[in-house]
């Protein structure tokens, strides 16, 4: 017989060992020595917080009462893990990318960092977990009472309530000591996880040992055990399909949604690849845990006296057989199951409470616009410690209220159904872009209320909260509102009834709310972050209002992250920005990083609100986001304008350069032109002066005197012509010509030109008589001048023995074309472009008396008349084509 005192001593020693394990593990992590602490094995074992005292003791009781139904509790998680890549991998990836600290944080973060949603989920989780914690207290108390009953000397025998209280206090102390020692930005607790892993091994070993003892020690081997099972009532139990499906689904949902499961699965996950190992290793663990459940139940029913609590067979079977060592081991296994669950649940819940209930309330109480001046770090830690105490207190209260009467399994299912209400919002949140905050809030609220009404409240006993009248007659006497038969549907399994209705209306409200409401921009941003978690790295939303002082931010961050971490973060960012010291410019990217770091400590919604308070004076509203969008658009527009301006400037600079080049060119041309003019003017003047002096000298033969006087006269005329041409050209080039538009026949113009150009010589002109009738509407005088220049050019430059000039005319498409072709040598190809330039006299024929302005003048006249003049190659001699447009008259006006 084990004395009660020894048992207590063993328990305390066991707790002390756990302390040591947790402490050493944390030390090792700090030193970054033991990689195995973050191994997939430890991760898998930590998942065993799923197997609580309910599993350890309750599964046997479950099997004894309901046959194989207990298997559903293992099937759900197994399914989730086997399909890990579907939901779990996504959850873990999102959790790591967004630094999610709890399931409440996940929901809040996904739906636009809604503080309200975080609060709802937190409340739901606390309420949903309370029966579960009560369950653990009950199991420890029950198991203790088993030993106490066998030990008459035990002082606590008469008072299981005080036992439960002491257990609750002890667990609270342990959790506070290890769960809230530090405020880690990742919310990881390597020490606690290690202790849980050790407990996982202890409970597995204990259950396997009891099972082995039962099968080989009591039943006499596997064959006998199987025969015993066949004859037992368990084999006859048939479980309705609805319950199979419903319970499997419920346990799968709970596996994902239970705060403690979310904590070990997502928050404590240090490597996504660990999931891969856990996907087969944890189902294996569950299989081992369930291996001896049925044998223990069957043998217990067979050997234990009528009325013995099957929930305690694991403990009582070895005890009644005098196997005290085994009984103590079994007790430690159950104790481990209970404590690990309570510790992790309390840590997870306290994180949620402090981040989603305490911190927002505290922040709000600071008033808007006030900078964070208190020590929030202490506030967070203190609120967590208080939360842990309160949560365990609630568990104890529920234990007292429910009178410890409900069976373990029933209490576990109530919890499962409660936390499963988060499932629609969670799954919808990570898969459905259209899910909105309103929808999530509606679904959660509806589900919560229905769950509480149909399951939680009736569970604490009719008459405690719900009166017997409500249970029997329905709320307000409405028959269809009876909590155990909604809509008048009687005869459903109570659990399935509650789960079905609560989740159905939860999902409907969620979907309807999402469809009917419009997400805020922040929600849309978060939604795309979550849904596209596998597409991108996952940069969080941006801060654009960079008005916060870095100093203020550092003060705040130090309080939340602790001075060391905060300073490290700030210094790293300052260094990135090329600054020394601790004060980086509060750039959007830095604020984002700071928000991420802080959201690890206080949750993303709170971190967002805090930075929002410092940076923008308040949390980010739709208007803020719109302003941000506007601002961005403005900046982009401004930048576009700048770009356009810069392009304009570049163009202008190019044009200036071109213009400058042209000016330089023009300047050169002007110099050359002036030099040419000087030459052209001085040459006749030289002759005039020289011969004048000769005439002045006298003593000349009369013949010479006449000759020299004639030269003087000719050169004077040459000068005059040159000046006329220059003047003409200047007027034409400036476009100041007053055109005298009239209509006349081609014959008229040609007559005038040939007459004017004909100062003797032997040039033969061939005219197109058939074209004489062509009517021209233009400045006929100017056109004649062009022709005169062309004819006199031929006269001057045509070197043929019998110079001939052929004139052709034709009309094409309204245009009139006139060709002047001589029978000389023509213009060499290299010079054909030059001849229209001023003073471009190509020929060196001395008899060319012109200054080389003729063709330049022709070109200017034709341009003024709206036509062209060009050299026509391939005609034998020199050939020019004049082209006049049809509507010259119109164009000129």
């Amino acid at each position: 017989m084990v004395s009660f005192d020894i048992l207590v001593a063993v328990s305390l020693a066991y707790v002390a060992i756990l302390f040591a394990v947790a402490f050493l593990a944390e030390r090792a992590t700090d030193g970054r020595r033991a990689q195995w602490l973050r191994s997939p094995l430890i991760y898998t074992l930590s998942l065993s917080v799923y197997c609580t005292a309910w599993t350890f003791y309750g599964a046997v009781g479950f099997a004894a009462r309901s046959g194989l139904e207990f298997v559903t509790i293992y099937l759900g998680p197994t399914g989730v893990l086997i399909g890990w890549w579907l939901i779990l991998r996504r959850l873990v990836r999102i959790g790591r990318a967004e630094r999610i600290t709890s399931i409440a944080d996940l929901i809040s973060s996904r739906f636009g960092k809604s503080a309200a949603l975080g609060g709802i989920v937190t409340i739901l989780a606390v309420v949903g977990t309370t029966p579960y914690i009560a369950l653990q207290l009950q199991s420890v108390t029950l198991s203790l009472s088993v030993f106490a009953a066998a030990d008459p000397a035990a002082a606590v025998q008469a008072s299981p309530n005080s036992t439960a209280l002491w257990v609750a206090v002890g667990l609270a102390v342990f959790t506070i000591l290890f769960g809230t020692r530090t405020l880690d930005s990742n919310e990881r607790h390597s020490g606690v996880v290690m202790a849980i892993a050790v407990e996982a091994v202890v409970k597995l070993v204990a259950l396997l040992a009891v099972g082995a003892f039962v099968v080989w020690g009591l039943a006499g081997g596997v064959g006998n055990t199987l025969a015993l099972i066949d004859t037992s009532p368990i084999a006859q139990w048939s479980v309705p399909n609805s319950r199979w499906i419903g319970l499997t689904f419920l346990s799968a949902a709970a596996f994902l949604c239970l705060p403690r499961m979310f904590h070990v699965l997502v928050v404590e996950n240090s490597d996504e690849r660990h999931l891969h190992t856990a996907s087969w290793a944890f189902p294996l663990y569950l299989l081992l845990m369930s291996l001896f459940v049925v044998p223990i139940a069957v043998v217990g029913l067979d050997m234990m006296p009528e009325g013995a609590n099957p929930d305690l067979f694991v403990l009582t079977l070895p005890m009644t057989q005098g196997q005290n060592g085994l009984a103590v081991l079994a007790f430690l296994g159950g104790f481990s199951s209970a404590t690990s669950m309570v510790i992790v649940a309390a840590i997870a819940l306290s994180t949620m409470v402090s981040n989603h209930l305490a911190a927002p309330v505290w922040l709000r109480s600071r008033g808007e616009g006030a900078t964070v001046s208190g020590d929030l770090r202490n506030v967070v830690l203190m609120s967590r410690r208080i939360a842990i105490a309160v949560i365990l207190g609630l568990g104890y209260l529920y234990y007292r209220l429910s009178g410890g009467g409900a069976a373990l399994a029933a209490m576990g299912l109530i919890s499962f159904a409660g936390v499963a209400q988060v499932l629609p919002a969670m799954v919808g949140g990570i898969f459905w872009r259209g899910a909105t905050r309103i929808g999530a809030a509606a679904g959660l609220t509806v589900g919560f209320i229905l769950w509480a009404y149909t399951m939680l409240l009736p569970s604490v006993g009719v008459g405690t909260i719900l009166s017997a009248a409500v249970v029997d007659q329905g709320l307000f006497g409405l028959h269809w509102l009876r909590p155990r038969a909604l809509f008048g549907i009687d005869g459903m399994d109570p659990v399935i009834h509650a789960v079905f209705w609560s989740l159905l209306f939860n999902t409907l409200a969620f979907v309807a709310g999402s469809i009917l409401s419009t997400p805020t921009p922040l929600e849309r941003m978060q939604a795309s972050q979550f849904i596209t978690a596998f597409d991108q790295g996952g940069a969080a939303r941006s801060w654009r209002h960079g008005v916060a002082e870095a100093e203020d931010l550092l003060l705040m961050a130090q309080r939340i992250l602790g001075p060391t971490d905060a300073q490290r973060l700030f210094r790293a960012h300052a260094a990135d920005q090329g600054k020394t010291g601790y004060l980086p410019t509060p750039s959007p990217s830095f604020l984002e990083a700071l928000e991420r770091a802080m959201s690890g400590s206080v949750g993303s919604a709170t971190a967002h609100a805090m930075i929002g308070q410092m940076v923008g004076g308040a949390s980010v509203t739709v208007e803020d986001l719109m302003a941000v969008a506007d601002e961005t658009a403005q900046i982009m527009e401004y930048s576009n304008r700048l770009e356009a301006k810069s392009e304009e400037l570049t163009n202008a600079a190019d044009q200036l350069r071109d213009a400058n080049m042209k000016l330089v060119q023009l300047s050169h041309q002007k110099d050359a032109f002036l030099s040419q003019i000087s030459h052209e003017l001085r040459t006749p003047m030289t002759s005039i002066r020289s011969f004048s002096e000769i005439l002045q000298d006298g003593a000349l033969a009369p013949k010479d005197r006449v000759k020299y006087a004639t030269i003087i006269s000719d050169e004077t005329q040459r000068l005059t012509r040159l000046l006329d041409d220059l003047l003409d050209l200047s007027v034409l080039e400036n476009g100041q010509v007053a055109l005298d538009i009239e209509t006349g026949s081609l014959a008229q113009v040609l007559d005038r030109a040939t007459a004017a150009a004909d100062f003797g010589g032997d040039l033969e002109i061939q005219r197109p008589r058939q074209a004489d009738a062509i009517l021209l509407t233009t400045d006929l005088e100017r056109l004649a001048q062009v022709m005169i220049n062309l004819i006199s050019n031929t006269r001057k430059y045509c070197v043929a023995d019998h110079p001939k000039l052929k004139i052709r005319a034709r009309q094409a498409g309204g245009d009139t074309e006139l060709d002047f072709i001589d029978n000389g040598e023509g213009v060499p190809a290299a010079h054909r472009q030059l001849i229209f330039e001023k003073f471009a006299r190509i020929s060196d024929e001395a008899k060319a008396g012109s200054a080389g302005l003729g063709l330049a003048i022709c070109r200017e006249i034709m341009t003024n008349l709206g036509g062209t003049i060009e050299y026509l190659p391939g005609q034998g001699g020199a050939a020019f084509r004049l082209r006049l447009p049809a509507s010259q008259a119109m164009a000129a006006q």
């Binding site: 030099s675 001085r682 030289t686 002759s687 060196d844 001395a846």
Partner: protein, 125 residues
């Protein structure tokens, strides 16, 4: 023996005027109007002095001057340039190339004669 002047000029009236005044002053004068053949003309005729126009067909007076100064036989030959482009940079260019005298058109007949005399005298002296 009369001194021989070669006039390289393409403007017929100017050739006539200068030839007239030089002949009257007692010089022997030959005229040549093409730039391209001017250098060989100078070399074959070996005049006592050359009057050289700048704007000549086919080869400019500056090029002719440069070529003449490049060979020993005509390196010291008195050469007077006449130009109708009275710009100072033309004068500088001509002086750089080693011209003996430089006159702008229109000129006074007396100046032409005075320059020619001075050049020939200096060459002789």
């Amino acid at each position: 023996m009369r001194k021989h002047i070669l006039l390289i000029e393409d403007e017929p009236n100017i050739v006539e005027a200068i030839t007239f005044i030089l002949l009257r002053d007692g010089w022997q004068v030959d005229a040549h109007s093409d730039g391209a053949t001017a250098v060989s003309k100078v070399q074959s005729m070996a005049p006592d002095a050359v009057i050289l126009d700048v704007m000549l067909p086919n080869k400019s007076g500056f090029d002719i001057l440069r070529d003449l100064r490049a060979v020993p036989e005509t390196r010291d030959l008195p050469i007077m340039m006449l130009t109708a482009r009275g710009q100072t940079k033309d004068r500088e260019r001509a002086e750089d190339l080693g011209v003996s005298a430089f006159m702008t058109k229109p000129f006074s007949n007396a100046d032409v004669l005075a320059n020619v005399r001075a050049l020939v005298d200096r060459a002789d002296g």
